[in-house]
Subunit: 128 residues, 4 copies
DNA sequence: GTGGTCTAGACCACG
DNA sequence: GTGGTCTAGACCACC
């Protein structure tokens, strides 16, 4: 079961945050084809957003072919996403968690961590 | 010298992307107090955004006390951000880059990497 | 310039009617890549639907890759649709118009015409 | 015997599609007064819709005075629809089928055909 | 009770 | 002035 976290004031529209979190859950294997997404009303209850916002996110995912809405039944995952190798994922997760704890000991905040990762993913960005 | 990358269609407003990239440059030490931000017309030339959008980003940073606009001279960094320990940062960056290359060998895409990091930063998100 | 006709009570949602009419205009060459769609506010004025309904239609077309919204500038046709042979289209149109006038002389109503066409398009439907 | 085709995702509600197909069958003479409509469970079996959806369609037709439900016996056609001239209809159908095959040779798809017909039925729609 | 559609209207981002 | 986002709430279609 996934639970969405909507961060108002992050600048990113709420419906995109929800859609992104579904995609992440698909990538990490928390959601698999056939699974049901939380009902719109559930998301409303837990996240405090408006029903239409959730619908918009679900519809976006439907357009992308990732989920399928069945009238009166719910919204279901249609396709998976990302690497299939769950084991490697777990291993990498452990390593990353270790690195993260070292980074925090060195005084880095979440923002620093994101900045580092973004640079590492796209080294060209660095310039002097 | 920093160069901004504005990703239209990422959902995040252009002016927030610029402001965020300045903050990241401050965190990583690419920009330090006294440095000049690129002129608005330079950013316009390299990023294709509207001048007003750049101005809005710079105003936002000025409001946050990070930069200072000097009439006719440009916009200058006023304060630093983040950990002062440049050495630790370099070390952590190398480790992260190593981890990242392993992750990519395992077939992970950028989105998978972000998903993992987000989970590592906020482990409560994972749920049965 | 296209003008939309929204038939409330046809059962088909208004936003789908608008999207469909844009697609038809693309097919018939009334709209070509680079053309601007009518502004949301114009459609609202001429069709009496709600702005959000128009937005939903335009967004649907954007998802389909047919149009592109440019902030503050409007929504523009990105890709064409259908056969490129405008001449053949005109010829066929004339023939169809002739047939249609004969059909009407024989007393057929629009509904009869649609029923005939649907059968002709999908002859398997006929069964006894 | 009529068989219904329900196209989920056409946007048109399922019950309206069924009712419309009955009306079309009446117009084209596939159904005549006294004929029995397929039983609800038959439609369910062939179309995959919910029994209530079929009932709603039949009720709608009954309301329109076109059919009549007889308890325990089924639903029967009460009135005809459209032009009585079966011969003219057949002739027009042949002509239309001929035109259609030429249209397809010219590369037109079903959508193009519908677009043409819609324009021919309502020529005012075309505009500069 | 499920998702889907539409309205009305406020506010924001961008040119 | 352009499109985009979100809210609130009514109503519909379907299971």
């Amino acid at each position: 079961m996934v639970e969405f976290r909507v961060d108002r004031g992050s600048g990113l529209p709420a419906y995109l945050q929800i859609a992104q979190q579904v995609r992440e859950a698909l990538r990490l294997g928390w959601l698999a084809p056939g699974d049901r997404l939380p009902a719109v009303r559930e998301v409303v209850a837990t996240s405090g957003v408006n029903p239409n916002t959730v619908l918009k996110a679900y519809r976006e995912l439907e357009f992308a072919g990732l989920v399928e809405a069945r009238q009166g039944a719910g919204t279901f995952v249609k396709a998976g996403l990302g690497t299939g190798d769950r084991e490697a994922l777990g291993q990498l997760y452990e390593e990353l968690a270790g690195w993260l704890s070292r980074a925090r000991q060195a005084g880095l905040e979440d923002e620093d961590v994101y900045a580092l990762l973004r640079t590492a993913l796209d080294p060209d960005r660095e310039r002097e």
